[in-house]
């Protein structure tokens, strides 16, 4: 009988404690600074172009092969405004396949890709889960702080 009463006492005590949950869509728990959301691309504000040169190392090391990249010659290099000979032409991440492992960030030699804070990316069809270059750059806006300096 003692154990039963002890259990009742425990539940009675927690009855008057503050709930630990929050009202989710209205209230968000703070994300950790290192939080790994979906990957996003960064924008080089100095030259007005992406950092990504389309070298495909992330695509090669992605465990789920969710990244597709191609590169092209950088027109700004000819103008002399940019130091990048090549620049990303086409970049696509299938967020439905992405397992958020951050290997792409780890292998990137140009600090061009970053794990953003984006995590509430639910959509109504699988096709919408495929993010193109513009959307990735949009997601990466203001996310430079998340770049792991290693």
């Amino acid at each position: 009988m003692i154990g039963l009463l002890k259990g009742l006492n425990t539940t009675l005590k927690t009855l008057f404690r503050r709930p630990v949950t929050v009202q989710y869509p209205d209230e968000h728990l703070p994300l950790a600074p290192r939080y790994k959301g979906f990957p996003a691309l960064l924008w080089d504000d100095n030259v007005q172009e992406p950092y990504c040169v389309g070298c495909q190392v992330c695509a090669r090391y992605c465990p789920t092969e969710c990244i597709t990249v191609t590169m092209k010659d950088n027109t700004k290099f000819k103008d002399g405004t940019s130091t990048r000979k090549k620049i990303v032409d086409f970049f696509q991440i299938d967020m439905a396949k992405c397992i958020v492992c951050a290997i792409c960030v780890e292998v990137c030699n140009f600090d061009a890709i970053v794990m953003s804070d984006a995590h509430e990316e639910s959509v109504f069809s699988r096709g919408e889960m495929v993010a193109d270059l513009n959307r990735l750059l949009e997601m990466g806006r203001g996310q430079e702080k998340k770049l792991r300096k290693s």
């Binding site: 154990g3 728990l29 950790a32 951050a102 292998v107 794990m115």
Partner: protein, 373 residues
């Protein structure tokens, strides 16, 4: 010879298919029970619903990528799985891991063990029919997971350990977080204990149910808390020590009867011991680099083979790694702890009731990701 009337009252056994969509088969496990009323006559486990061919996948992936696959085996205790794999690669390459990295690994693994055992507590309580233990345990687990998030950036599937160390040092506020977390966890575990452990109904449900002898358990390849509940003092952290466990002081709890109750009690005590380890490790952690300097991003492993096992929260998690040189392994065999623990189910469920079968399965604490691989 039976009377005619008697024959008319003959009963037949009923086949009951439990799972893969059943609330208490802990994922996609299926067992076919043959029951006589409420008594179980025979049981046939069926696995494979979560088979993703991880071993085959490993053969086609770089060492860097495989760590992320190992996260997804025993997804409740990802850190421990990662550890097994990186230790295997390090042994083959002969890498000395910096001490700070070893301590970080141990802290993460032990926190993960607590989180995993809390998950066990939650599910076990729910299996026995109590609803509040689930929420209590998840409340505590949540705090641990936010520490994981701060350290590795992910609450589960961390992908944090690397061959030669860890990917990144601890965040600057780690000490503060742990100072806050440890007393809270202690209190939380005590609360969980108060809620369920002494409860007479719970004792009646767990005590003497699903017992197995030590000899049988070893024969079946049972390991971890399940084996220790039979009274075998076997813990790989002690018997085949890895990382910095030899320098840390902790006890190995063991039960006596090998029944559900002992399995429960061993895990409850292990949580406290893990907290002890975490406290020591934080106190003794040196400064320094967190990854061995000779390790490059693209890991090339020399020819050789190694079998490494670590004490996963569920038991003996083994990795048999064969390399023929190059940047991809030749063969990776994963020995899941739950895979072997689950083999005993047939033995454990002899002469049990239908209600017991749920409790016994819960007490084994299987994770299907590791069973099916």
């Amino acid at each position: 010879m039976k009377m005619e009337a008697e024959k008319r009252f003959d009963t037949v056994d009923m086949m009951l298919n439990m799972g893969p969509q059943h609330p208490s088969t802990h994922g996609v496990f299926r067992m076919v029970l043959t029951i006589d009323g409420e008594k179980i006559v025979a049981v046939e486990p069926h696995i494979g619903y979560l088979h993703r061919g991880t071993e085959k996948l490993c053969e086609g992936e770089y060492y860097l990528q495989i760590v992320s696959l190992f996260d997804r085996l025993d997804y409740i205790s990802s850190f421990n799985n990662e550890l097994a794999f990186v230790i295997a690669v390090e042994k083959l390459m002969g890498i000395q891991v910096p001490e700070r990295a070893e301590y970080i690994r141990v802290i993460m693994c032990e926190l993960n063990r607590i989180a995993s055992h809390l998950m066990f507590y939650a599910a076990f309580g729910a299996d026995a029919g109590a609803i509040t233990p689930f929420l209590y345990a998840f409340r505590e687990r949540e705090q641990i997971q936010s520490v994981f998030e701060a350290v590795s950036g992910a609450r589960m599937m961390h992908n944090y350990f690397r061959v030669g160390g860890v990917i990144e040092d601890l965040p600057p506020d780690f000490g503060d977080r742990m100072n806050k977390l440890i007393p809270k966890l202690k209190q939380g575990i005590q609360e969980c204990d108060d809620l369920l452990t002494g409860n007479e109904i719970f004792i009646a449900r767990a005590k003497g149910v699903g017992a197995i002898s030590a000899a049988d358990a070893i024969d079946f390849g049972m390991s971890g808390p399940n084996l220790r509940a039979c009274g075998v003092l076997e813990d790989i952290r002690r018997s085949e020590p890895y990382s910095v466990y030899p320098t840390l002081d902790f006890d190995i709890p063991a039960g006596q009867n090998g029944d559900c109750w002992d399995r429960y009690m061993v895990r409850m005590e292990e949580m406290r011991q893990s907290l002890r380890i975490v406290e020591q490790a934080i106190a003794e952690m040196p400064q320094g680099p967190v990854i061995a300097p000779q390790v490059r991003k693209i890991v090339k492993v020399p020819k050789g083979e190694v079998y490494v096992r670590v004490e996963n929260p569920r038991g003996d998690f083994g990795v048999y790694l064969i390399s023929q040189g190059g940047d991809k392994p030749y063969r990776v065999k994963i020995r899941g702890a739950s895979f072997c623990n689950l083999m005993t189910l047939k033995k454990l469920l002899q002469q049990c009731y239908v209600a017991d079968c749920v409790v016994v399965l819960g007490s084994l604490d299987i994770v299907l990701g590791e069973v099916d691989r």
